[in-house]
């Protein structure tokens, strides 16, 4: 089954509230694109989207605030407030586009870089910083926003997503599940097994691969010799490559994949083709392994700039909108900064908490011993 034939089944909405695409000019036919790097709306035979000016401004706002939050986090790491930060710079469209395609009852399994998706889910950005500051391993309740904790071991979460989706299907719900992973992760056996399980059980899950072309220092050629979206076909479900810097295309393609899942047609692999503009994390030094030219070429494809051009050209946003948004960004940054600085260290005893739900004799014993040991210093006045 090809992607195209599947997508074709999707009812097409013909009314365009916002300006229709000017002319098709997709340089790579495999790549779904609705907004060119130059900010021009183009059409795709199988995917379209129909958004109000307000919705478009909303996507723009999401991307800008996410980027600003991300930059602030990077700065906080430089200032020593965080131990580490994994920036999403350049991947805002992939994350906001896919994140905004989700319904509240859908469930998200992120990697460690999905700050934009977290934003869409309503997770307070400061909560994301706890693990990078070293005060916890995950600072939010996954069930509140249906947004699972960040998973660090590469690829593991794709199986959790698959199992969760199997559960959704068992429940007879029409929710969908989305699993994020990277181009590097595509090599992990767990990801392959999640393809097998989801296909065999026809689980309502969307595999969203952000191919940012790097796994730390390794280019995608170290993981595959064909485009990653093609991986899905051999497992019996569609794969589709979308311009990961085009928020409209990411939204449209993810929405279509989610609808497919809801209809009981099983998994889809979406490969969002994008670029990691920054270092892998703040610990990384990309000058050792990649050239500045690549980065420069991708700067021209910036996801935020192209939507801004479009908004401005079409008159969907006025100067005030951008000014207000700048202020809003500053407020967000300030709030995050202050919240992180105020974030208390956990209590020493916290390491004994939640090791088990039903308790464990040894943990109790060790907690008591450690408390007594700590207390002995207090007594000595140390």
């Amino acid at each position: 089954m090809t992607v195209e034939s599947t997508a074709a089944r999707k009812p097409r909405r013909s009314s365009k509230r916002v300006s229709a695409a000017k002319k098709p000019q997709n340089p790579e036919p495999q790549l779904v694109q609705l907004l060119t790097p130059e900010g021009e709306r183009v059409q795709h035979p199988d995917y379209d989207i129909d958004l109000s000016a307000e919705e478009l401004r909303g996507l723009y706002r999401d991307m800008v605030l996410t980027r600003r939050f991300d930059a602030e986090a990077t700065a906080l790491q430089r200032q020593g407030e965080l131990g580490l930060w994994a920036s999403l710079l350049g991947q805002e469209a992939a994350q906001i586009g896919s994140g905004r395609a989700l319904r509240d009852d859908d469930y998200v399994f992120p990697t460690y870089r999905e700050h934009g998706v977290a934003w869409c889910r309503g997770v307070d950005p400061t909560n994301l910083l706890g693990m990078f500051r070293g005060v916890n391993h995950g600072g939010w309740d996954p069930t509140t926003n249906n947004f699972h904790l960040y998973t660090i071991v590469i690829g593991s979460q794709t199986l959790h997503a698959t199992g969760y989706a199997m559960g959704v299907a068992k429940d007879g719900a029409d929710s969908a599940v989305i699993a994020y992973f990277g181009d590097g992760a595509s090599s992990q056996g767990d990801v392959a097994e999640s393809f097998t399980f989801s296909a065999v059980y026809n689980a309502p899950v969307v595999f969203f691969c952000q191919n940012n072309q790097w796994a730390i220092s390794e280019p995608t050629e170290r993981q595959t010799r064909v485009p990653l979206y093609q991986r899905a076909q051999g497992y019996g479900f569609p794969g589709i490559r979308v311009d990961g810097n085009d928020v409209l295309a990411c939204l449209a393609v993810t929405r279509s994949a989610l609808e497919r899942a809801r209809r009981g047609e099983g998994p889809t692999l979406v490969e969002a083709f994008t670029y990691r503009m920054g270092a892998h994390t703040t610990s990384d030094d990309p000058t050792r392994y990649r050239h500045d030219e690549d980065r420069a070429a991708w700067e021209a494809k910036d996801p935020i700039q192209r939507l801004r051009t479009y908004l401005e050209n079409e008159g969907h946003a006025d100067a005030e909108f951008f000014t207000v948004l700048d202020e809003e960004s500053d407020v967000l940054a300030k709030r995050v900064r202050e919240a992180v600085r105020a974030m208390p260290d956990p209590d020493d005893m916290a390491m004994f908490d939640h090791v088990y739900a039903d308790g464990h004799a040894l943990v109790d014993e060790e907690r008591a011993q450690f408390a007594a040991y700590q207390a002995s210093f207090a007594e000595e006045g140390n």
Binding site: L149, V153, S156, L159, G163, Y164, D190, S194, Y356, A357
Partner: protein
């Protein structure tokens, strides 16, 4: 009738049936657990009665089985996973150690992982490679997991019930060579705590501590020793994480001597943990060092050697004698 005499395997089967009946969220997952009923028939008849939606034949991929069970648990299910043989749990080891064991803590308690992983373990059935191992220490070392092993049909029934009811991940080691041993099961009893050891046999001279398949050997050793006038106490540990050190301590304070017996290799095995901790707790009571009887530091041997490899009656008695000789 509440009290039945059942083979251990059948007790497990009945226990799974009860769990499926009682809680609609309980699922059985694994390779060949459906029509075949598992290679040991522990899930016999369950798919027929509860359907493919609750008793699920999975693709042949252990990481996938445990990983998807985690996802199902996050969705509110209580998966009971079957690993076909001890030696085949390792493809799932990453999911067990890095995800299943740690996710509750990672989420600061906000989510629970009530997943049971059933593993038929141990030797003595004349099998080929990878079908006779005892990897329990590799799980007990990992915080976040609970590790248990029944030695009787009654414990098999009840401990599996309790493992399924537990909100923590439980690695449930089934003594495969005792599957066919019969014992009385009272399905209306009120079971004791899951992680409490039991004095199977009272004695005064030496304590034998064991779990799973080796309990029977120890009981036989106690009988043989009794004929020679030695009074041996046998403690069935039942749980390898947590370990009920209090019960062992009480016994050792009485006997002054302890021999720990397991099939797993001695080196870095559970006997080491027990020896270390009991020595600390009972330093002034011990008349002899804690001795360990177990597997050698070698891969589980081919079947024709397993009788020599496995700790049998004679090796246990030898250790009892050595302990008494101090």
């Amino acid at each position: 009738m509440a009290v039945q005499k059942l083979p251990l395997a059948k007790a497990l089967n009945e226990s799974l049936r009860k769990a499926l009946e009682t809680d609609p969220k309980v699922l059985i997952m694994g390779e060949d657990v459906g029509k075949l009923g598992g290679v040991f028939r522990i899930t016999d008849g369950l798919q027929k009665d509860f359907g493919e939606d609750r008793v699920i034949d999975t693709p042949l991929a252990e990481s996938g089985i445990v990983g998807s069970a985690i996802g199902l648990a996050l969705r509110g299910y209580r998966p009971v996973v079957e690993i076909q043989f001890d030696g085949f749990v390792f493809p799932a080891y990453d999911q067990i150690v890095t995800q299943l064991a740690k996710m509750h803590a990672r989420a600061l308690g906000k989510i629970k992982l009530p997943v049971v992983i059933r593993i038929p373990y141990g030797g003595g059935i004349g099998a080929v490679e990878h079908h006779s191992e005892s990897p329990e220490a590799l799980f007990a070392h990992v915080a976040g997991l609970k590790v248990v092993s029944p030695s009787t049909a009654s414990d098999a029934y009840w401990m599996l019930q309790q493992a399924i009811q537990s909100d923590d991940p439980v690695i449930f080691f089934e003594p495969k060579r005792r599957y066919w041993d019969k014992g009385e099961v009272d399905t209306e009893a009120i079971p004791g705590p899951l992680h409490k050891a039991r004095v199977t046999q009272a004695g005064t001279d030496v304590t034998l501590a064991a779990y799973g398949p080796m309990v029977k050997v120890c009981v036989e050793a106690a009988a043989a020793a009794a004929e020679e006038g030695k009074s041996v106490e046998v403690v069935d540990l039942r749980s390898m994480s947590p370990i009920d050190f209090d019960t062992i301590q009480t016994s050792v304070e009485k006997t002054g001597r302890l021999v720990v017996v397991h099939e797993a290799p001695v080196f870095y095995g559970s006997g080491a943990e027990i020896a270390a901790r009991i020595t600390e707790r009972c330093f002034y009571h011990l008349e002899a060092p804690v001795l360990r009887v177990g597997g050698f530091h070698a891969p589980y041997p081919p079947a024709r050697l397993e009788e020599e490899y496995l700790p049998g009656l004679d090796r246990v008695l030898d250790a009892v004698d050595r302990s008494l000789a101090y």
